[in-house]
Symmetry: C3
Subunit: 474 residues, 3 copies
């Protein structure tokens, strides 16, 4: 595996073996920090933070300095040429000619992908809106690995805001990839979004079992358990042992409890803030429960009130260690991407996930996520939106930039009307016709208006009752 010149935009850009390789190098570097001072001598890292994050920025900059490299940084949105209307692609090209590696945080989802596409140098995503924050995920995993030696088969509980916390979404995929089981304990109203669950099951296998409301009330005293994800290779796999109780499973103990801060800056409504007030705080009392006896208490920080500081001295508390470990993990990553360090990777597994068919038609389809980089005014001149067809029943497309999955309302097929314009008809995406269209012919519309603008007329199947034809559990 060769890291040189590659970028890290999502955690999926690294195979399991590569993740292990980063950890091995981080171990090596943290044991001999003084010897790393010439590793990046003469290299310049650009640190571009278009959203506040002193913690992450300082961690990256400290990592680069400890490797003997230099840092140029821009931290204020208003102080940048982007404020003059420049596109991210232009900015990436210019900064890529000043620096040897770019670290970027930007509120638009998918923006780091655009920077990676244009910069000409390795790019590390330090958070792109609600999308991904893969180095946070790496240091989370590194902490679990350091404390438990192996991640495969562990039971990791995620607690709090599982809706807006980008660190949590990256972490979910990484845990699944590495074979951990996941216990979801969201604040009510802050459950993991459907598109994350869909990707989790489709790409990593395994099963998700949701708890009924009655089950939850029974065990309210323990934790607000919502669902559990069982990794495919697990001996406890639900399908194999249908009678196993989630409660019993949970009682056997949780290996790590990953607490997150309410991402207030991303809340859609003020009511969401209210929802968090009723939520149980992770404190000494909670951690007296038997299942947390040997649990690693983790948090990406900053915390506000969701994690009591009375736990700071508790040996199970890992959150300050987590933060500290960000430095060697980032040192390892930077030096691998710059190609100044090499390390053997334990396996040859490919980082690639499922190779979904591409959506081929160029009829102006736009990503419906308003925070996606591909729909921003300054970017549309550069970025041609592209999509993958990740499911057909129901039909789900995924934006290749922000990775947001969505279900188009209407479909058509380029095959139907080739040479026969009178067949330019659109159908409901829920009609059975939809599943007969081959991917290379698929045309989708998010609204009837979109279809009509392109000259399509509604077929008899344009309106079907809004229920699943197959009753599939989703």
């Amino acid at each position: 595996m060769n890291f040189t010149g590659r970028s890290l935009v999502t955690i999926d850009d690294l195979s399991n073996g590569e993740i292990t390789a980063v950890f091995d190098l981080a171990d090596e570097m943290s044991q001999s920090m003084k010897e790393q001072l010439d590793v990046c001598r003469g290299k310049v890292m650009a640190s571009l933070f278009f959203e506040p994050s002193t913690r992450t920025r300082l961690s990256f900059e400290s990592a680069m300095h400890r490797l003997g490299g230099s840092v140029i940084s821009a931290v204020d949105t208003k102080a940048t040429s982007l404020a003059k209307g420049e596109s991210i692609a232009d900015m990436a090209r210019v900064v890529g000619s000043y620096a040897d590696i770019i670290v970027i945080r930007h509120p638009w989802e998918g923006s780091a992908r655009v920077v990676a596409d244009y910069a000409g140098v390795p790019v590390i995503n330090a958070g792109d809106g609600g999308h991904q924050h893969p180095t946070q995920t790496l240091l989370d995993l590194y902490t679990i690995k350091k404390e438990r030696k192996i991640i495969k088969g562990l039971k990791i509980a995620l607690w709090g805001d599982l809706k807006y916390g980008r660190t949590v979404h990256s972490l979910i995929f990484a845990l699944a990839k590495l074979g951990a089981n996941i216990v979801f304990c969201p604040t009510p109203g802050f459950e993991v979004p459907n598109h994350v669950i869909q990707k989790l099951i489709a790409e990593y296998g395994g099963e998700l079992e949701r708890l009924a409301a009655s089950e939850q009330s029974d065990k309210e005293k323990v934790s607000p358990l919502d669902a559990i994800y069982i990794t495919p290779g697990s001996p406890h796999q639900l399908a194999m042992m249908p009678n196993i109780s989630i409660q019993v499973e949970l009682k056997r103990g949780v290996d790590a409890l990953y607490v997150t801060r309410p991402q207030k800056e991303r809340f859609a409504t003020s009511e969401e803030g209210e929802g968090f007030k009723k939520y149980p705080v992770v404190d000494k009392k909670l951690l007296k429960e038997k299942e947390f006896e040997k649990t690693l208490i983790m948090h990406p920080l900053p915390r506000v009130d969701e994690l009591a500081c009375e736990l700071d001295a508790d040996p199970r508390s890992m959150y300050f260690k987590q933060a500290a470990r960000g430095v060697p993990v980032r040192m390892a990553l930077i030096s691998l991407l710059l190609g100044v360090k090499e390390i053997a990777t334990p396996d040859k597994s490919s980082p690639a996930g499922i190779d979904y068919p591409a959506y081929r038609q160029d009829l102006g389809l736009k990503c419906p996520n308003p925070r996606c980089v591909s729909v921003q005014e300054s970017e549309t001149k550069y970025i041609k939106p592209t999509f993958k067809i990740v499911d057909t029943n129901p039909l789900i497309l995924r934006c290749t930039y922000c990775e947001h999955g969505f279900e188009p309302k209407y479909v058509a097929s380029s095959h139907w009307h080739e040479g026969a314009p009178e067949y330019k008809k659109y159908h409901s995406a829920e009609s059975h016709w939809a599943r007969t269209i081959r991917p290379e012919n698929l045309i989708v519309f998010n609204s009837a208006d979109e279809a009509e603008v392109r000259g399509f007329k509604p077929s008899h199947y344009a309106t079907v009752p809004h229920k699943r034809s197959d009753g599939q559990k989703r």
Copy 2:
């Protein structure tokens, strides 16, 4: 004396011998700047400025670079996780895991103490609200020492805003500690606060003589003299020579005139700004007075109008030299605290001041200073306010964070009601009973409400006429 791993929060953290040691190393370093380039190689300084101060920040960062070290910096309050509600203590712990030394400026008084308590690495206070700015004090003293060889016995006049100027408060204690006499020339309305004077006399000895208004009008043409502090060891000590005239003393010449800028950003009212308009400017005309013939003109900068630029070429003007000397002084300090340089200290004097008894009762007493770090909402979960009993007549407590001294209104004794709840009574702090309470039993309240909330009832002595029982001059 070993500096390694220590922090510099207030100038009192350094003994006289240690101050001299810093100056000796600064001398050595400024004479061979090029040879210092490996001193801090591989070390990372975090420069955290939560209040604007380009000058101080650039001086620290230049110092670190001239030592061959690296700098990570955060300069915008809004760009920090503190804006997300994080506590200073958490921030300190995380940044302390990224950097080898932290320099912090923050508007909350006592904040640097909190950072030093939690960071796990040396911390330098670069200004915490109106509290202290000890490295400014060091470079002020260094300038005086370079120009006059010795500080002991000198006569230093302080001019302008002596109320809000934090550099002046640090300087007052340092000058007293080093045996200088201090002439106070405040803008009317901007006199040195009482708690500073109280500490000056109590901890450094010596005497303060205030000028009567009549005396002032007599000599208005010279300078708006308000009071003079005579150091204990001085041959001119007032107590020993009761007939000596302050005027005569002043006429013998001032060694340095320390001018300060009106700290408008800290003014409580707009009238305070008006007060400054009537104030004499330090200019050529003023400096023609005989007592300023050989006076060093000093200013912490930035200046606005209080110091005329016609003086810039005057050989007595030291203010640009002062600023320049900040670099070697900070180089010396950084390398000593990091333990990468050592230097013999001329004496073994301890930095500690008087060991005042601690206030022991835990009944929710809060520091009445609204800018104190210990009363900020995000910090109260971490910081348990603590106080020293620094005087008993009148009773004065001092917050250990912001060092603000205050006189509680009411007192009680835990001894009185042990086992006898009917004796839970509170008295006026001015009643003679107050002085009978032993420090370990002392309970204080800033208001009657506070006392009643804790279950105390007023005694017969709760209201005494508001005058001193002993007529003590204050």
Copy 3:
């Protein structure tokens, strides 16, 4: 030619030979970047950006890091002591004692000159309002030279906002100095200001021919040509070949097309923004014209819509190369000014332009440019405005700070009333008397009020009809 210790405030500070020397060193450095890492070891550059410009700042900082030097930077106006009312001169002196070289961007025109006057270390102007941005000019010239080998005799077209674009003004003088011909293609309403044209002709010789409106409409399809400047040494010099057609000249091909962004942040009115909407965009269609067949497409970036991104892959497009070349050009410049590198200059030409007579009278004349540093409230205590008499018919004075040229309304002569106060009279600057006054006696006033305040009375010649007495073409 010795660069050591000098500043670069305007492009005129460098002779042709010195410009070539910078380019030679840039060539050398860009071919062996790794070997430059000790060139500035131990040197500190202060990067002071009082106006947003991430691009320029990162380029300078990258250059310094690639030379092995360190950077201290201040990027936010509000985060500086200037916000406390400090003068630029004070700031320069202090920062000059922290750093070995200063790079400054500031909105006040002439501010970099003030910094250079006071800092005591070399200063590089990274843009002072609408005045100059000489390193942008250097990298523009460097790109032309790299692509065309020689600049003399080339035909360079300037396109877009030629009024507010400071990069364009610097470039005009530099191109003239180096013997290039200039084709002006301004957006209507954004023509090159008169004072720039005046300086161009007066100091660099050559001729400017403006196109009549009728000629323009004829050729609208090609480009909105407004005027052409023919360099003195050119074989096509208009005076020598009066019948040559500009159109024909243009048809022979343009060597470079320099496109500029509308400098919206400097627009005086919102109508100016409207004017730009009608302006032709530089795109593939335009570049199909024969005269652009081998044209270098240049742009200082950031661009918005004036330059189509469909050109990015076109081999004529130079704008990203331009940006990239800023790094070696700035590396060369920094190391020359710091005196850590030396290079032989090909010729001994002096950088100085015409030695205009100074305006000698000290009667409170102020620069009429409201953005000039010399008229800012915080600066007037330091800066004594000075002027050069750059023309007498009509009378034009030029501010030595912002280099803004202006025509005073009234004149007087100190000679007239020496010993005869009754002759303290002022005349119209357009009267024939004005041209009889010797420079050393000249007194000018921008208004009658100014004159009367100084005790002057109107002469019979104070009002003359507002037309030129000589019908000179301007």
